[in-house]
């Protein structure tokens, strides 16, 4: 058991290490000079002032130290939880800005991922091998997964938000409200949450439904299904076995899709000006706030790694083969 988790954790630790290294390398080794582009943005004409600012920014990034020292310092401050200071919301620390946005992103992502996975699997299993359903569901599902997240968001915001006027299209709650536990605030929160959630849910749903449908068909072709059918087992029983077998690859698929869904959530947030990490990234880009950008990147990577690990644990709980194998290994 510990071997299995140890191996997984090792890969994740290595991934985190690589992510931090990428994060450190990109500003330093990309063609183009971040300090210069920041100075260009400040548009200071005075040469002396420019020189002073260049020196200030260089020391801020620690660019005047030897490279290995820069790298170690980067890790040092990271482990102290210091991600730098936001330029956009000066002088708030980056970690604080990000922690304020994370709940919104999680509030969108977690329900969207879980509900779309469950509903998509159920629906895909239901549609598989039903001639009429299969022929309508299949193209619709493929079109849904092929839809860019932001476009579905735009369409929903325009049709249900602006034309029909049912849902608000910007922000996480009404502009006139203060966060509190009142009915007015909570209902406004839910109304603002619904459209971004719906667009994330729909795109992901199409993918899961199709994946499940294909897996079920594959499982129904397997020998055990034919055997059961030959024994005269009821159709429903065979399908139930096929469903349980098909769930495992879908769980692996969930782990593989996490990065994509997170990216989709970022794009959806931008469409709806939803104050999560996606919007934060957009603001960071617009304000050339690189500390904030890199902090957000690290947070997202960390979140994806944790979610991957959770899926690994669930996989062990669900798959009897892995469980037995591990008990055998431990004995």
């Amino acid at each position: 058991m510990w071997r299995y988790f140890g191996r997984k954790l090792f890969v994740y630790a290595l991934t985190f290490f690589v992510a931090v290294t990428i994060n450190w390398m990109i500003p330093r080794f990309m063609p183009g000079d971040p300090v210069r582009s920041m100075l260009a943005r400040a548009s200071v004409g005075n040469a002396e002032a420019l020189e002073a600012m260049r020196a200030y920014y260089s020391s801020l990034f620690g660019l005047d130290l030897p490279v290995w020292q820069q790298y170690l310092n980067f890790w040092g401050s990271l482990l102290r939880g210091d991600l730098g200071t936001s330029v956009w919301l000066f002088p708030t620390p980056v970690s604080e800005v990000i922690l304020g946005a994370v709940p919104y992103t999680l509030g969108l992502l977690v329900p969207a991922i879980l509900l779309s996975w469950i509903a998509g699997n159920k629906f895909g299993a239901f549609a598989a091998r039903g001639r009429w359903l299969d022929n309508t569901v299949l193209p619709v599902g493929y079109l849904l997964t092929a839809t860019p997240y932001m476009w579905l968001g735009i369409l929903l915001a325009w049709s249900l938000g602006i034309v029909a006027g049912i849902f608000p299209t910007a922000g996480a709650y009404g502009f006139a409200l203060q966060p509190s536990l009142s009915w007015a605030f909570v209902s406004s929160l839910v109304l603002h949450w619904f459209l971004p959630f719906l667009s994330l849910f729909l795109v992901a749903f199409g993918g899961w439904a199709i994946g499940m449908r294909n897996m079920i068909i594959y499982e129904l072709e397997a020998d055990y299904s034919s055997y059961l059918e030959a024994l005269g087992a009821p159709r429903r029983l065979v399908r139930r076995y096929a469903f349980r077998n098909a769930l495992l690859p879908q769980l692996t698929g969930l782990a593989l899709q996490l990065g994509t869904i997170v990216a989709g959530a970022l794009l959806t947030e931008i469409v709806f000006s939803y104050p999560g990490l996606g919007n934060l990234i957009l603001e960071a880009l617009n304000n050339r706030d690189f500390f904030l950008l890199q902090g957000a990147f690290l947070f997202i990577v960390l979140g994806v790694l944790i979610a991957n690990f959770v899926i690994d644990v669930v996989y062990v709980l669900v798959d009897p083969r892995v469980r037995v194998q591990m008990q055998g290994g431990a004995a």
Binding site: A19, G259, L267, V301, V304
Partner: protein, 310 residues
């Protein structure tokens, strides 16, 4: 969405017997005929191919007739579709139709380059890891797993934010370098199952070199699989590029479908009800990528007789 756990992709067929293109390995000419026979009778494949072909022709053939820059201010501002401007005009009087066909061009280009690079890297890693095994496999597997877990889009956002020279080529290169892992995994699994076959052993006994065996013996036996993988990578690259362009990290002076949505949203086309500005670009992307996916299901049925509808 990059097609990772590819919907309807060649993923489930990791089993040996389900390897594509094996059932009809009777003789080369007959097999070719049979593939064509079933391909022409597969409605999914045909429908997908027709949509992609129409859009491709539009992308290649129309722009020369329009002439001038797609970003030029040619007409009245914010006009709905009319006989003169088929898709209407933007807030600034740019022709949306001209932007759309030029955007289609860059969409296909990104798909081709980004998907191509990803397929190339995935194939090299998958073949080498699957055929060599041992330590090489361990190391390549580790790298694959690391890149697989890293959220590609977010890495690309960081990279593109610092990059000053942003063009379609650079964008495709970056997309290709981040979206190969699932392909490498799938190809590795296929290679593993083929590498233990008798004909591969025979080739090895005859003293062929490893790369010759991979390219002459293994790759041709999974060519349909590789082709389908490329199609999915193609679609995935288009979606990632659209997302990047939408955030505003696309080519600064260019035209692309993602960029059109970006400007539509930034210039409040939604609030102004200018649906002709933001509907066509998204519809174009959805049509291309969706048709590619549906084509892939059709191809799967053509190559794998067990999936054909009876």
């Amino acid at each position: 969405m990059s097609a990772q756990q590819v919907p309807g992709g060649p993923v489930p067929g990791e089993g040996v017997g389900a390897g594509p293109g094996e059932a009809a390995a009777v003789g080369a000419p007959r097999r070719g005929n049979e593939t064509v026979y079933f391909a022409l009778r597969n409605p999914k494949l045909l429908a997908g191919a027709v949509v992609v072909a129409v859009l491709l022709v539009a992308a290649l053939a129309v722009p020369p007739f329009l002439g001038g820059s797609p970003n030029a201010y040619v007409g009245p501002q914010a006009q709905p579709p009319s006989a003169e401007f088929w898709f209407g005009t933007t807030n600034f009087g740019q022709d949306v139709f001209a932007q759309f066909v030029h955007g289609l061009r860059s969409t296909f280009l990104v798909g081709l380059l980004g998907g191509g690079i990803a397929a190339l890297v995935g194939m090299v890693v998958g073949f080498v890891a699957g055929y060599r095994g041992g330590l090489v496999d361990e190391v390549l597997n580790m790298i694959t797993n690391i890149v697989l877990v890293l959220p590609a889009m977010v890495v690309l956002i960081i990279a593109a934010a610092y990059l000053e020279a942003r063009g379609i080529l650079v964008q495709s290169l970056f997309i290709g370098l981040t979206s190969w892992p699932w392909a490498a995994r799938a190809i590795r699994a296929q290679t593993l199952s083929l590498a233990t076959r008798d004909f591969v052993d025979l080739a090895r006994l005859s003293g062929r070199r490893a790369h010759a065996i991979i390219f002459r013996e293994i790759a041709p036996n999974m060519s349909s699989y590789l082709f389908m993988t490329f199609i999915l990578l193609f679609g995935g690259a288009i979606l990632i590029a659209a997302g990047l362009d939408f955030i505003g990290l696309g080519p600064p002076q260019g035209v692309s479908l993602g960029l059109m949505m970006h400007s539509a949203v930034s210039w409040s086309a939604l609030q102004l009800g200018m649906w002709w500005w933001f509907v066509p670009p998204g519809l174009g992307i959805t049509a291309i990528v969706g048709s590619l996916y549906i084509m892939n299901v059709g191809l799967d049925e053509v190559f794998n007789p067990r999936l054909r509808e009876t």
